[in-house]
């Protein structure tokens, strides 16, 4: 059905404008009529984008080349911040190491658990909404301070975990203040919040028609074969989506580290997440310029990762509308 009305603002009349040249005023008026509504609606976002995103981003790039402690004006420092970070700052390396470790373990494990449970829930299990709610709840409460506090107590020296272990006669260390285990308590916390990716997997699984599975089963494919040959490939877009989102989230993690470790990355900086280190440099040590440099390094890392993910996705993610 042909429409003579396109998106609002571009009402095309049937006639063509004749050749008489328009004055500047008329042209401006037309432009305003055409673009005005759009820009008016967009105005709040535009103000926000320029004032709260673009300018601060540029500002932070500038700051990253300065020494700035808030009390005195910024002093140009060239690439000093960056070279310090890469060549001299061992704490920076710790923070990177801790964050990578966290991402590398928590994201895959979280996704595997999410997928497993999504599959278990997929076949019209009775009481599905109850299970869904229970599994989603931790995700919802996840970065709340209450939960971080709870975690601290559970894994503390006299906490629940040690009590359970004592029942079997063993003596557990103080998990959250032990450099080998503290990060793992945070990884477990992350995995505990698998609810969100699980919901997305559920939705994705729903989109795989039952007939495909039945056909394969009739051809004699066992459950494992069906999983690897059918489910996984068809789920690839969803897996990709979850993977990118969860990884970016994991890079940004702050609250768990701040609360569980008391805000200083203890013990021995084993819970010094990148965000935590940035926060400490900016708001405890007042090295705003250095913190800005750290932020840009993080941005570049995330950008590289995202680009990498998108590029390699060509090889393992097939969308329905692309055909094979």
């Amino acid at each position: 059905m042909a429409s003579t009305v396109g998106p609002i603002g571009t009402a095309t009349s049937g006639r063509r404008e004749t050749a008489a040249p328009e004055g500047l005023r008329a042209r401006l008026a037309r432009s305003f009529r055409r673009n005005g509504p759009g820009y008016l609606f967009l105005l709040p976002w535009l103000i926000g984008f320029f004032g709260l995103t673009l300018l601060p981003t540029i500002g932070s790039l500038y700051l990253s080349f300065t020494d700035y402690d808030l009390l005195n004006p910024p002093r140009w420092a060239g690439a000093a911040n960056y070279s310090y970070a890469f060549f001299e700052d061992t704490r920076f390396r710790s923070a990177l190491g801790v964050t990578f470790h966290y991402v590398l373990w928590s994201v895959p494990l979280k996704l595997i658990v999410a997928l497993a449970l999504a599959m278990a829930l997929d076949r019209g299990v009775r009481g599905i909404s109850v299970y869904r709610a229970v599994f989603y709840l931790p995700s919802l409460l996840g970065s709340s301070v209450a939960v971080a506090v709870l975690w601290r107590q559970i894994f503390g020296d006299a906490g629940v975990v040690n009590q359970l272990i004592a029942l079997v006669g063993l003596k557990g260390p103080s998990w959250i203040t032990h450099p080998d285990y503290a990060l793992w308590t945070l990884i477990v916390l992350a995995i505990w919040q698998f609810g969100s990716p699980m919901i997305i997997f559920l939705a994705g699984l729903r989109q795989i028609p039952q007939e495909v599975h039945e056909a394969a089963a009739m051809d004699g494919a066992g459950p494992a074969r069906r999983f690897f040959r059918i489910t996984l490939p068809l789920l690839a877009p969803v897996i990709f989506f979850n993977l990118v989102l969860q990884t970016i989230d994991a890079f940004k993690a702050f609250t768990p580290a701040f609360i569980v470790s008391g805000g200083n990355g203890s013990p021995i900086d084993s819970t010094l997440f990148y965000s935590l280190y940035l926060y400490i440099e900016a708001f405890a040590n007042f090295r705003m310029g250095y913190a800005a440099a750290l932020a840009w390094i993080l941005l570049v890392m995330i950008a590289i990762f995202t680009a990498f993910a998108f590029l390699t996705s060509r090889y393992w993610v097939y969308y329905e509308d692309e055909g094979r």
Binding site: S3, G9, S31, R34, N35, P37, Y39, F41, L42, P44, W45, G48, F49, G51, T53, P56, S60, L70, L117, A120, R123, V125, V134, Y136, L137, L140, L141, G142, S143, S144, V145, A146, V147, V149, L150, Q153, V160, L164, I200, L202, A203, G204, Q207, G222, F241, I248, F254, I259, Y279, A282, F283, M288, A291, A292, A295, W296, L298, L299, I302, Y319
Partner: protein
Amino acid sequence: MSTAAPRANKTRRQLFRHAILIAAALVMIYPLLWLISSSLKPENLIFHNLGLIPEKLQLDNYVQGWTALRFSFGRFFLNSFFVAGMAVIGNLLSCSLAAFAFARLNFRLKKLWFVLMLGTLMLPYHVTLVPQYILFLHLGWVNSFLPLIVPKFLAIDAFFIFLMVQFFRGIPREIDEAAIMDGCGPWRIYWRIMLPLSTPVLATAAIFSFIWTYDDFLGPLIYLNDMRDYTVPLALRAFVDATGESRFGQLFAMSTLSLIPVFVVFLAFQRLIIRGVALGALKR
């Protein structure tokens, strides 16, 4: 595959599935149950028995914890609700305006702005954190709620814009056209037609807006200096770090209370939330 007694096999599989689900559910929920039950126990019993059923049920922790900090938790809850509530209003207004522009209006450079808007989704908050702080410092807004609320009125949460754009695109244009025939301008269409039809996505945006703002810790941490203005997460942390007698029971009681608003919102809108997540994520 044996054809003998397939039904028995199926039931066995069902049971197995249920067993795993129940075990997983218990593991998921145990920490929270433990939190609640500990909040009801007297202080000295909390770490002494692992059982979930408290031997002595008492509400002391709640009563004392409520007023244990310099201000009562009532104040902290009020602060949290105020900030979260304003965030919801701000987000719904500004994001729907922007989404309408992207979904329904045409204007020069629209594609550019759209791409930039999506780009902000990828930008980690760290990059803007320090300059935004400096900006607010110069505006004199630090130590007030303004840095937490005003950005919401400027559509800072691009995620909601994106969600709404997807939704608006699904509303048939014929409705718009009919309205234009009747002489409606864009504002009318937005306000009288688009919004009322978008209740599901608006509700989803409102819910997530509320929950995320309520749980926001870093923002209040750097912008709220006076304990009088603390939101619940900050107050809880003050509890944790307070030097004094061990007050774990009170801490757990207040933590439990802090989870209730989120929990209630979740229960009431479970379906909407899940639908919202699925719709926003999977619509291509």
